[in-house]
């Protein structure tokens, strides 16, 4: 299993007092540097799976190995958590300090990192998420997208190999969503950080390298976005959808137009132009 950065093997998990299992025999490998979206209806097990990746929850049967550590190994839990950072939905619940740069430094201070090193890492992290000019601002004065990028910087300052984001854009406006997605993609492409992105937005999933679809605690589909979004009906059956541009292709196909199915706007525009008079 050593070759995969994240390796889940037959993972089962049951919340106390619930009759149906949250995770049923989930096996899944994620390699270093992958940008993976996890989709699924509310209650499908996405967040439960995410919480297994840095040992907030541990498998009741089966094993999760991340960065070479078994998440059940309590001796290594801090090593594991410094390699895998998490970002949650509500930015207001994640920021603790009164000044942006202090917030980003929070975890490093707790780890007892040298002040000089903290300065360097905080500056770098804020730079990476495009928030340097706000380093002395008060977090509550930032927009939602800015706050969420500060939360990402806080994780980034720990120099993780992997960031797990649980619906980081659910509470953001369109611009905030775009900023956060741009930041995530940049961190993955330029720094090789492995990203696991849980989302309800199909457009965001389309930007990833791979999509894992969860349904009722099981992996339902797993593949490249182009492949996964071919299954419009299957996705609909499990409470999901395809990106709007893909629905447009499907609607055109139903009307008898021969057009390839696209998952992004630019590709669609290129294809449709070949068919249009003008």
């Amino acid at each position: 299993m050593a070759e995969h950065f994240i390796s889940c093997k037959n993972v089962c998990f049951n919340y106390e007092g619930r009759s149906d299992a949250a995770l049923k025999n989930v096996s899944l490998n994620i390699d270093k540097g992958e940008l993976v979206a996890v989709l699924g209806h509310n209650g499908s097990g996405k967040s439960t799976l995410a919480k297994h990746l840095n040992g907030i929850l541990t498998a009741q049967s089966g094993d999760v190995e991340v960065a070479g550590y078994n998440t059940k190994d309590e001796n290594n839990i801090f090593n594991l958590r410094s390699r895998v950072g998490m970002v949650f939905q509500n930015p207001d619940n994640q920021l603790v300090a009164t000044i942006v740069e202090e917030d980003v430094a929070f975890a490093l201070e707790n780890l007892g990192v040298e002040p000089k090193e903290i300065r360097k890492r905080v500056d770098e992290a804020l730079e990476a998420v495009g928030m340097s000019e706000f380093k002395l601002s008060q977090p509550h004065k930032l927009s939602g997208g800015q706050k969420q990028r500060v939360a990402i910087a806080g994780v980034l300052a720990m120099s993780p190999d992997c960031i797990v984001l649980d619906e980081p854009t659910a509470m953001l406006d369109p611009k905030g969503r775009a900023q956060v997605m741009d930041t995530i993609i940049k961190l993955n492409r330029e720094r090789g950080i492995t990203v696991v992105l849980i989302t309800h937005f199909m457009e965001e999933a389309a930007l990833c390298d791979r999509i894992v679809v969860m349904n009722d605690g099981e992996v339902f589909l797993d593949g490249e976005p182009k492949e996964v979004f071919k299954h419009a009906q299957k996705l609909k059956d499990v409470g999901l959808a395809v990106p709007d541009v893909t629905s447009l292709c499907n609607s055109l196909q139903k009307l008898g137009v021969e057009i390839e199915t696209s998952i992004n706007k630019d590709e669609f525009i290129e294809n449709i132009q070949k068919l249009l008079i003008g």
């Binding site: 509550h140 659910a170 509470m171 406006d173 609607s251 009307l255 068919l275 249009l276």
Partner: protein, 286 residues
Amino acid sequence: MTVLEVKNLSYSYGSGTPFYKKALSDISFKIEKGEFVAIIGHTGSGKSTLVSHLNALTRAQSGSIILNGEDIYKKGYNIKKARQTVGLVFQYPEYQLFEETVYRDIAFGPKNMGLSESEIKSRVISAASALEIDKSMFNSSPFELSGGQKRRVAIAGVIAMNPEILVLDEPAAGLDPKGRDRVMRLISEYRKNTGNTVIIVSHSMQDAANYADRVLVLNEGKLYLNGTVDEVFEKADELESIGLSVPPITKILIELHKKGYAVPLNVYTAEDAAKALLPLLKKEVK
């Protein structure tokens, strides 16, 4: 008939402290009975502050709110009346569920209104049915339900008070696509069946375009635009400049339009866009 009029409303947080922030400045608009209005705006633009004024949770520092012709700040006005006329569903309302059973949670509002047992029962049953909550769930604990179910129970609790104006702050945020469509469809049907006014706050341009008659756009505490869905979403560049957007399908049509194709721009759904593109195709489609 105008049910709600907001006149020159202004509000600041933390006046006289370093945390001073002008949240709303000089906002005026009217809402007609039975309208479906969407309020959009970037985070921090004042949307939630604005809606908290509509049932007098927050008191304006200047300006007035006229509900059914009555100024709610006027001396002698019973503020309870405003609370019963305007039902407010907060963001993530499922966090406010607290009763032991679904039935009791939905009944909480009507009970506090002092209604009779039989009236409470009929309110709960009709609110539950409006939100597609099956009677078999009545005795369950609300905490055993799925995220989408909890959301619908929480909304039913407000609808059970039969507010003339239903205000929902981000009613579909955090739901999966199916849950999102269902909640939005049920709110829209509720409006049709009761003739009551509905106001939603949303970050989803798609939901605003699909369900609303009219869109109010806030920007930095000011009313930036107020118009029909078509009037607002034809201003794509302006919306972009204030952190908003147009629905994804509309974006595609705008781009084709810029490339010189004669496509309509007031199209918001995939099906409508497909139909709109059809006449422009080179080859006849059988």
